[in-house]
């Protein structure tokens, strides 16, 4: 029978397919006994082997930012999967008690959860989530061995929740869309889904109860609509949505060659955030002004030694060459203790890495590391326009120290005979609230600034974006955030310093009017959303928005800001 629900759309796109359910990790398996003990043990071990294989493949597929986000938990999961206590316990439950592998998994899980539940340390207590995920995957593997569940092409996955690592894998299996009961549109998974163009709907609380394996579903990741067993009219609407998507893609493609100019003729600079040469090529093809944020962490990750100057130089030079004269903003290493495993850097574990030795703090504490990177960047400046961006700046001294080192490095390289640019702009990321507030005191020490809204939001609102319990607390639509952005942009403009926003916020076409109203004339965003943002810019009237900023800054709450956005939205 038809059943429909509107949840939260987290990644756009329409899909029509069959539901494939993944039950939550808390296993609901009834007691089952088996006869063929050895067969059951080998069935279990085949499942464990396939999970091990799956994790191995997944690790190989990871690159760039995903290595940091996903790599560490994969390591932990790999060790859990080989844990002798876990395995021995499972074997015993099958051999001694003749339980099925499924029921043994459940018993073992509950037993472990019981012990973990009594621990005082909240951090260790929450490791049960990792154990649940590992056991859940073994359980899933037990069943994908059964023929009828093999092959997921054309499926729409319905699950309690989804990890970022799983999304990439699902897409390669041909899964069309994902619906989760939990989750938020701001999670890493949602960000990844958008960059993979995989439709994702989150917060569909009833989905697991109402949808059965094999049900036909129509979903729309834009509006969050889910329809089970669609009627003719639903199918008609789905086809209309597909047509609309195709039309939009065509229209967006036409925007590749037009300027990012508002209706009243203000040119907005659209920079691209990039990490791989693929991103860079796309940024170039889409007509971006340049690279506004080139992340360098990937050069350091998943290896046990540091990249030397020549290796870094070649990477930076290639980006500079690919942009054919357009500026490339290279951000110096932005790592912290939470991301430094397998980097060749040995860092002290920190109880609170978000507030620890990271970004510029780490670079200044390891001067040789920093100077090596500066040398590589400065050498690349002989091949095109290069700008240097310093992450996690919190005070003036850090900027001055970095500038001194840059000066010294440039002088050394010149005397060594390298051809380097006459001028290399040095900029600061504004992502620590203290830097945003104290900016008038050091704006003259930098050549440009870039506002990292992801971290700025996290620190300003004291809200971790990955903590789903916080729901909508992590949002740019907070009066404090808007006022701070407004102040930072005004401070920069008064001193004629270019200022860009380079967080997720810049890539959200719906927020374009808000950013322009705050006075922003430069945005740096991932190439995937560049054309949508350009289209939004072309619909804006810059002068009118600037005039509406007083009203915007007077909004006392999120609802007020949303109303403001509603009044300025175009047709």
């Amino acid at each position: 029978m038809r059943w429909a629900l509107t949840a939260h759309g987290a990644s756009r796109g329409a899909a029509l397919g069959r539901a494939r359910l993944r039950l939550p990790h808390a296993l609901h398996v009834d007691e089952q006994r088996i006869e063929d003990v050895e067969g059951e043990v080998s069935r279990l071990h085949a499942a464990i082997d396939s999970v091990r294989e799956e994790m191995h493949t997944l690790r190989e597929r990871l690159h760039g930012a995903l290595v940091q986000e996903v790599g560490e938990f994969l390591d932990l999961h790999a060790l859990l999967l080989d844990d002798p206590e876990l395995l021995h316990g499972l074997d015993q439950l099958i051999r001694n008690d003749h339980y099925s592998a499924d029921y043994a998994l459940r018993l073992q899980r509950d037993r472990i959860a019981g012990v973990f539940g009594t621990m005082d340390d909240a951090y260790l207590r929450s490791r049960i989530d990792d154990i649940d995920q590992v056991i859940g995957r073994i359980h899933a593997a037990l069943h994908s061995c059964d023929a009828e569940l093999q092959g997921a092409s054309g499926d729409i996955l319905v699950a309690h929740d989804i990890a970022p690592a799983e999304l990439a894998q699902l897409q390669s299996q041909g899964v069309l869309a994902v619906v989760t009961a939990a989750g938020s549109a701001l999670s890493h998974s949602a960000i990844l889904a958008r960059s993979l163009h995989l439709p994702l709907i989150v917060g569909a609380a009833d989905a697991l109860l109402k949808i059965n394996n094999g049900d036909v579903l129509v979903v729309d990741g834009g509006t969050g609509l889910i329809v089970r067993e669609p009627r003719a009219s639903d199918l008609r609407e789905h086809r209309a949505r597909l047509k609309e998507e195709a039309r939009e893609r065509k229209q967006l493609n036409r925007l590749r060659r037009v300027p990012s100019r508002t209706r009243d003729g203000a040119d907005i600079k659209l920079w691209a955030n990039a990490e791989s040469l693929q991103d860079v090529a796309e940024a170039h093809a889409l007509g971006s002004a340049g690279i506004g944020l080139y992340r360098t962490e990937f050069l350091f990750l998943q290896r046990n030694e540091l990249p030397d100057e020549d290796e870094q130089f070649r990477a930076y030079r290639d980006v500079v060459l690919s942009m054919t004269g357009r500026p490339v903003t290279i951000r110096t290493l932005d790592l912290g203790a939470d991301k430094a495993d397998h980097t060749g850097l040995t860092l002290r574990d920190e109880p609170n890495p978000a507030l620890g030795l990271r970004g510029i703090r780490l670079s200044l504490a390891h001067e040789a590391l920093f100077v090596t990177q500066l040398r590589a960047i400065v050498r690349a400046s002989g091949y095109g326009q290069v700008r240097i961006l310093l992450p996690m700046i919190s005070n003036r001294e850090e900027v001055l120290t970095a500038r001194d080192l840059l000066k010294r490095t440039t002088r050394d390289l010149r005397s060594e005979g390298y051809e380097i640019a006459d001028f290399i702009a040095l900029g600061a990321m504004i992502e620590v609230p203290a830097a945003a507030i104290a900016l008038p005191g050091f704006i003259t020490a930098v050549d440009f600034i870039s506002i990292g809204t992801n971290d700025l939001m996290q620190y300003l609102l004291a809200a971790d974006r990955n903590n789903e319990a916080l729901g909508e607390l992590y949002t740019p639509l907070h009066p404090a955030m808007l006022r701070l952005l407004h102040d930072v942009i005004r401070t920069a403009h008064r001193r004629d310093k270019p200022v860009a926003v380079c967080g997720e916020m810049a890539g959200d076409a719906a927020l374009v009017p808000l950013l322009l109203a705050l006075g922003l004339e430069e945005l740096s965003l991932h190439p995937t959303t560049l054309l949508e943002v350009r289209r939004a810019i072309r619909d804006c009237d810059f002068a009118q928005l600037r005039a509406a900023v007083t009203k915007l800054l007077r909004c006392p709450d999120r609802a007020g800001i949303e109303r403001w956005l509603g009044t300025v939205a175009v047709g």
Binding site: L76, E85, I112
Partner: protein, 89 residues
């Protein structure tokens, strides 16, 4: 069988990362290894087991290794404790 008391002296104690290092360090050895603290003994090759010890910094733990390559295994673990699980630069 060899036995030795070690003090957990890295800052976070035997949390997930240090535990992972310990389990990885013992993995190449054939011998049995147990760790005991606070009246509980666990398999030192089990990440779950060692996490369950919840041995914070300053906790004395006793490592017992038993098997052909016990001496080498003991050396590897002692070195790891002395390096504070590589947490210090």
């Amino acid at each position: 069988m060899l036995e030795r008391e070690l003090i957990v002296s890295n800052r976070l104690g035997l949390h997930a990362r240090a535990t992972a290092r310990l389990v990885q360090a013992l993995a190449p050895f054939q011998c049995n290894a147990t760790l005991s603290a606070k009246g509980r003994e666990v398999n030192a090759k089990s990440i779950m087991g060692v996490m369950l010890l919840a041995a914070g910094t300053g906790t004395p733990v006793v490592l017992r290794v038993d098997g052909k390559d016990e001496a080498a295994a003991m050396d590897a673990v002692v070195a790891l404790f002395e390096r504070r699980f590589d947490e210090d630069a």
